[in-house]
């Protein structure tokens, strides 16, 4: 069927990155050019941590070379310029995910961001924060809902919150295929649900969960929503306002930034009512020996000396991603993901975890090799210069649900070449014969 050119434009998927463009991108990542075990490094572990482009490293070095000072205190020039850089970084990251600057709270990592929300709830449950914090109070009879697919970072803080408050933790189960059981979700999320916390994209099976559907369930139950966006914000365009989630968390080091910085997004009106988690300097207005008044968000949640160079470097990482284009990165990784899945499903004895067809996925795949433990697979890959993740990827319940204790994961990013994916596939074909389990 013929299409008019206007239709073609409208229907055309976003242009992916070409292999040549990826070669250019790789020049910005010197770490990728090295040999490992005598072979060119094939870095397929960006799901765990990504690499930094030179621009990010330069910005961090430049900050320490010319601007370093403590922020939001002091009247000298460096203190002022450092504060400006710190707050400009906040604005950059906010606009990258469709948020207002004052809705972005810096944390050490995504794990701390989840804990910040959980501890704020538990402080509210103790009566802190007064009436403004009443909607964050939990007690017996209230329910916290997560999913069986969660990374431990979005599970254990809620288990602990339930223990502290007497609330009940429930979960949306995973189907035999490794997808969220949305039919069951409608019975798990109900009038007692106070918060629903779930991952946007799974760090193990790679599926992108239906945020709109889950948010609708939560809204019908008048529950709050926290989105674990650690595997989505680095890999696809994310607009937290459009998704209408109340909170979202992600980490800098998975999106070309440094370690030591993570982000909590919270809707402004919610953050305004939340009691603080960490307390101390920089988050107060007036203090006497008996008590203190707290600053408005986001400073209320940023006690102590801040991660200034990391914030500035994370903003440089966001600038890098924006310059390449998140739609194009998403399209490129979708191609690499399909190549991975198609190749892996053809290898005898290799089982790809999770749904492989007909679902939206990010560019990663986790597999079980029959008769070969993941740690041994990882060793074999390492010998070929391939960095892949082996183990339970901080998601023991999901692995148990899928009938395995550990798996081998290859995860791609904007700098991943098709050659690296093909090398991974070719090496995976040799695993079973080497360990003497081929049939």
């Amino acid at each position: 069927m013929m299409m008019s050119s206007a239709d073609a434009t409208r229907l055309a998927p976003p242009r992916s990155l070409s292999d040549e463009e990826v070669v250019g991108i790789r020049r910005d990542f010197p770490i990728l050019g090295q040999l490992v075990n005598g072979r060119p490094l094939a870095y397929l572990d960006s799901g765990a941590t990504s690499q930094n482009p030179v621009s990010v490293l330069d910005v961090e070095r430049d900050f320490y070379t010319r601007q370093n000072a403590a922020v939001h205190r002091g009247a000298h020039t460096l203190a002022f310029t450092a504060t400006e850089a710190f707050e400009a970084a906040r604005a950059t990251v906010a606009s990258f995910v469709g948020a207002q600057a004052d809705e972005i709270v810096w944390t050490s990592n995504a794990t701390e961001a989840v804990n910040l929300v959980a501890y704020s709830f538990s402080n509210a449950s103790l009566g802190l924060g007064g009436e403004a914090a009443s909607r964050f109070r939990l007690g017996p009879g209230d329910e916290i809902v997560v999913t069986e697919m969660e990374h431990h970072a979005n599970l254990i803080p809620w288990q602990q919150l339930a223990l502290r408050t007497g609330a009940t933790l429930r979960f949306i189960p995973v189907t035999d295929d490794g997808a969220l059981d949305l039919a069951a979700a409608t019975t798990v999320v109900g009038p007692r649900t106070r918060i629903l916390a779930f991952t946007h994209a799974s760090n193990v099976v790679g599926v992108v969960n239906p945020v709109a559907e889950l948010v609708a369930l939560a809204r019908a139950a008048d529950a709050l929503v926290l989105l674990d966006a650690c595997q989505s914000v680095p890999h696809l365009p994310v607009d937290v306002a459009a998704l209408d989630v109340d909170f979202a968390v992600f980490s800098g080091h998975k999106m070309l930034g440094p370690t030591g910085i993570g982000v909590l997004y919270g809707k402004a009106d919610l953050l305004a009512g939340m009691p603080p988690f960490l307390t101390g300097g920089s988050m107060i207005t007036t203090v006497d020996m008996h008590g203190a008044q707290f600053l408005a968000p986001p400073q209320r949640f940023e006690a102590g000396t801040q991660r200034v160079s990391q914030a500035v470097a994370l903003a440089a990482a966001v600038d890098y991603l924006s310059a390449v284009g998140m739609e194009r990165i998403e399209a490129r990784e979708a191609e690499l993901g399909r190549r991975l899945i198609e190749g892996l499903t053809e290898i005898p004895g290799v089982r790809v975890l999770g749904p492989t067809i007909g679902v939206e996925r990010i560019g990663l795949a986790s597999v079980d090799v029959a008769g070969v433990h993941a740690h041994d697979v990882g060793q074999f890959l390492d010998e070929a210069g391939i960095a892949a993740r082996v183990g339970h990827h901080c998601a023991q319940p999901l692995h148990r649900r899928l009938g395995v204790t550990a798996s081998t994961r290859a995860s791609t990013y904007l700098y991943t070449t098709t050659g690296e994916v093909d090398l991974f596939l070719a090496t995976m074909r040799e695993v079973a014969p080497f360990f003497g389990v081929s049939r």
Binding site: N37, G38, V372, H373, A374, H375, D376, Q379, F380, E383, A384, V390, G391, H392, Q396, T405, A406, E430, F434, F435, G436
Partner: protein
Amino acid sequence: MTSSDLQQLYQQIILDHAKARHGFAAEPFEPLASGSAEAGARHTAESHQVNTSCGDEVTVRVTVEAPAGQKPDRIEDVVWRGDGCSISMASASVLSDAVRGAPAREARALLESFREMVRSRGAIEPDEELMGDAAAFAGVSRYPARVKCAMLAWVAFEEALLLAEAS
């Protein structure tokens, strides 16, 4: 394309032990009765060890025998259960073969030689006469990340033996 280092790490003897799993208890362990010492003779204790970096785990159960009125001396039995990579499973299999029936003193000497070898970063050539199948783990010493895998069952054995002797 596999390097000789990798062949050294995964020697056939290791791959065979990883499959055969000598000393592996077919049924889950029944809990140990507290104060399991049967009047004077046999003492059983166990130790559970986990490699948190990869989730491998092993439980080793050691039974020692004491001549009447004396301190325990001989390792009567070593059985284990666990789940993990071929290095950790083969190591548990080799361990149970090597120490079953041995005097505790000899088992500890072997344990120390084994530990020294796998931590040597390739510097120690094992005495195959002395170490038997355990000598096959010399290749592990070139892979520092795998030393924990090789040591897992031995560490469990070391602790279980102490507990059994003390019980």
